[in-house]
């Protein structure tokens, strides 16, 4: 790449006037400034400032102090390095604020109903307080499982086709239309799946598999895209080395390309599952809601965590607090399920990834 850019940039001070060595900031300097900035932000917040504003003030303050200090002590390039480090870290910390706030809100609101009953009971026969999401947890797992069963093979094979086999018109068409597919609004996917199932089962059909089909429409392109990116990152030398040893193409793909990219693909698949597991709109239309257990995805309505949570929020009973607590707790369960999935994905990528530096 363009290593020459630094050379062509004009030096601000002439070499003669510049000493050969520069001072450096003490190693603990910038972290201490950062701590100070965070403390200032926290104090401002406690003084009743808007938390977002306090965060921004702390971030800008930290960046400015580090840059000015470094500029005073160190050379220009080092100062610029410090500046970029400060910008990156404070942008990172700023971005983490809302994300952490979301998590903290869900956890603190969700814990109110994290009791035994919540996990072992369904909503059958429950009015106002009590009840649980046992039925919805399994509904979500079953429907998401089916979605994954449909989407991962199709998506992965398509990605393999695009990267390894695809040439010419068909490949270009598929690449293009996969992109188009990422743009299907989730509610349209739901309407489509519903219309498809109405063709076979008549109006008013509600079943888990219809929801899985709707979610697959959303999930497949995400799998293709991320798998494609990851397969592309596999160095060509690996493939060529394999071919040179006389290994057929399909075995090269199965034994060399896929394992090399597996860690990335597993992350991609987990992300894709995460993308669809919390989908509400398509499941509202295709799967509906029930208060009772139904673990058969081919017959009738099933409860899912997202739809359950949505309905608890939009049509709460009297008093509304009981419903809202259930809504938050269901959302927390959803996040925990994804967390578990993430662990599995990590386990898979650790087990299967080739050992390399």
């Amino acid at each position: 790449m363009s290593l020459s850019t630094t050379d062509t940039e004009p030096d601000e001070r002439s070499a003669a006037a510049e000493p050969l060595t520069h001072g450096t900031l003490p190693a603990s300097g910038p972290p201490l400034v950062l701590l100070g900035a965070i403390a200032t932000g926290a104090v401002l917040w406690l003084l009743g400032w808007n938390p977002a504003l306090s965060g921004i003030v702390a971030a800008v303050g930290y960046t400015a102090v580090v840059y000015v200090w470094s500029r005073a002590v160190e050379e220009a390039r080092a100062a610029r390095d410090r500046l970029i480090t400060a910008v990156v870290s404070s942008a990172f910390l700023l971005a983490m604020l809302p994300l952490v706030s979301v998590l903290a809100t869900v956890v603190s609101r969700g814990l109110a109903r994290f009791d035994g009953e919540f996990f072992t009971h369904s909503m059958r026969g429950v009015v106002a307080e009590g009840g649980g999401v046992h039925h919805a947890i399994f509904g979500t797992l079953i429907i998401t499982g089916l979605t994954t069963l449909i989407s991962v093979p199709v998506g992965l094979l398509t990605a393999v086709y695009l990267v390894e086999y695809g040439r010419g018109r068909l490949a270009r068409a598929i690449t293009f239309f996969v992109d188009v597919m990422t743009g299907i609004p989730s509610i349209v996917a739901g309407l489509f799946a519903y219309a498809l199932f109405v063709l076979f089962f008549g109006p008013g059909v509600r079943m888990g598999i219809a929801g899985a089909v709707a979610l697959s429409v959303l999930m497949i392109p995400v799998v293709v895209r991320s798998a494609e990116e990851m397969l592309k990152l596999v160095p060509n030398e690996l493939r060529e080395a394999s071919y040179a040893l006389g290994v057929p193409k399909w075995r090269t793909i199965l034994r060399i390309v896929l394992p090399t990219a597996l860690a990335g693909i597993a992350t991609g698949v987990t992300l894709a599952i995460a993308r669809v597991i919390g989908e509400t709109a398509p499941l509202l239309i295709t799967v509906g809601i029930t208060t009772s257990d139904n673990f058969n995805p081919f017959d009738g309505r099933m409860a899912t965590l997202s739809v359950f949570s949505y309905y608890e929020y939009v049509s709460p009973g009297v008093p509304p607090e009981a419903s809202l607590d259930r809504a938050w707790a269901a959302a927390l369960v959803l996040i925990l399920i994804v967390m578990a999935l993430n662990l599995v994905a990590r386990l898979i990528s650790r087990l299967f990834a080739p050992k390399s530096a």
Partner: protein, 314 residues
């Protein structure tokens, strides 16, 4: 490399068959996607057609389907582009921080937390946006309206509940951050060590190394990730429906309570009570959203393809 080809006797004979089966299966998967998409497109066109041909006065608003969809399209684009403008730089910063700056163990944990956030369902972001974020924006937007009111974006009057386009853009930005970041981070992590070490060897500082080797390598992933995020922001339904006060027409004013709705949110809000031609009008708006995403993706592809090298260190 630990991968070894196991010497099996059968290797030579099934070579062609295996290849044929494998390429057949992967081609089939690709074609299946085309078929599904054709199905969706056919569904959209068939259902949207009555709205296009219907007399203008039958449309909600009474002025035909184009004028019905236009404010929605405007709102969709405005919210999604704003969200992207906020999220794209931040996601690059987060990815850089995780891959280049943070201690390895810290980085793993952070990556993990961010992956988790990608899974937070949109209604949670909606609930959070309404109950936590919106109230926080009330005072700052009031200040903006008072002091920067001459800029059309902040014309005001500021909303007293904070359920504004600005809040929605922030919520959407936060929603797409994890997805953006995940894609960019994976790519940054794959930066060839040789490139990095070459930079170090030339005496580059960390920021120079990043500029010279990490960013160029990850550029297509940055665009790809942004497009994934933009796609999600354009199609986001529940969070927008819950947060946005949708009672205005086309306006750039980000901080008042009269905002244009977005296509996806409008479908979610109006669909349950709609019958007949109004359903067709909603699906027609869905078709427009579909077309917009198509255009966005075409642009992104064009940008990525311009620098399409088969990656690796060669």
């Amino acid at each position: 490399m630990p991968i070894t080809t196991e010497p099996t006797g059968r290797q030579r004979t099934p070579q062609r068959l295996g290849d044929r089966v494998f390429s057949g299966a992967s081609t089939g998967a690709g074609v299946l996607i085309l078929a599904v998409l054709a199905g969706v497109a056919a569904f959209l066109l068939v259902e949207a057609w009555p709205a296009v041909t219907a007399p203008a006065e039958d449309m909600p608003g009474g002025e035909g389907v184009a004028l019905y969809v236009w404010p929605l399209l405007f709102g969709t684009l405005l919210s999604a582009l704003l969200a992207l403008a906020i999220a794209a730089p931040l996601s690059v910063a987060i990815a850089l921080f995780i891959t280049q700056y943070a201690h390895r163990r810290v980085a793993t944990t952070l990556g993990y937390v961010i992956d988790l956030l990608a899974a937070v369902p949109s209604i949670i972001f909606g609930l959070w946006g309404v109950s936590q974020l919106a109230p926080l924006t009330v005072d700052p937007t009031g200040w903006l309206a008072e002091n920067l009111g001459f800029i059309p974006l902040f014309a005001g009057p500021a909303s007293s509940t904070g359920r504004t386009m600005l809040t929605v853009a922030l919520v959407l930005a936060i929603m797409i951050l994890p997805i953006n970041t995940a894609v960019v981070r994976e790519a940054f992590r794959q930066t060839p060590r040789l490139h990095e070490e070459a930079s170090w060897a030339l005496g580059a500082t960390r920021s120079e190394m990043i500029r010279m080797s990490v960013l160029p390598f990850g550029r297509s992933a940055i665009i790809g990730g942004s497009m994934l995020g933009l796609g999600r922001a354009l199609g986001e339904t529940m969070a927008v429906a819950m947060v946005l006060s949708t009672s205005g027409g086309v306006t750039f004013n980000l901080i008042s309570n009269g905002n244009p709705s977005t296509i996806a949110a409008n479908i979610a809000l109006q669909f349950p009570e709609s019958t007949g031609i109004k359903v067709n009008a909603l699906i027609a708006s869905g078709l427009v959203l579909f077309a917009v995403t198509l255009a966005v993706n075409m642009t992104a592809r064009a940008v990525i393809n311009r620098r399409r090298e088969f990656s690796g260190a060669n």
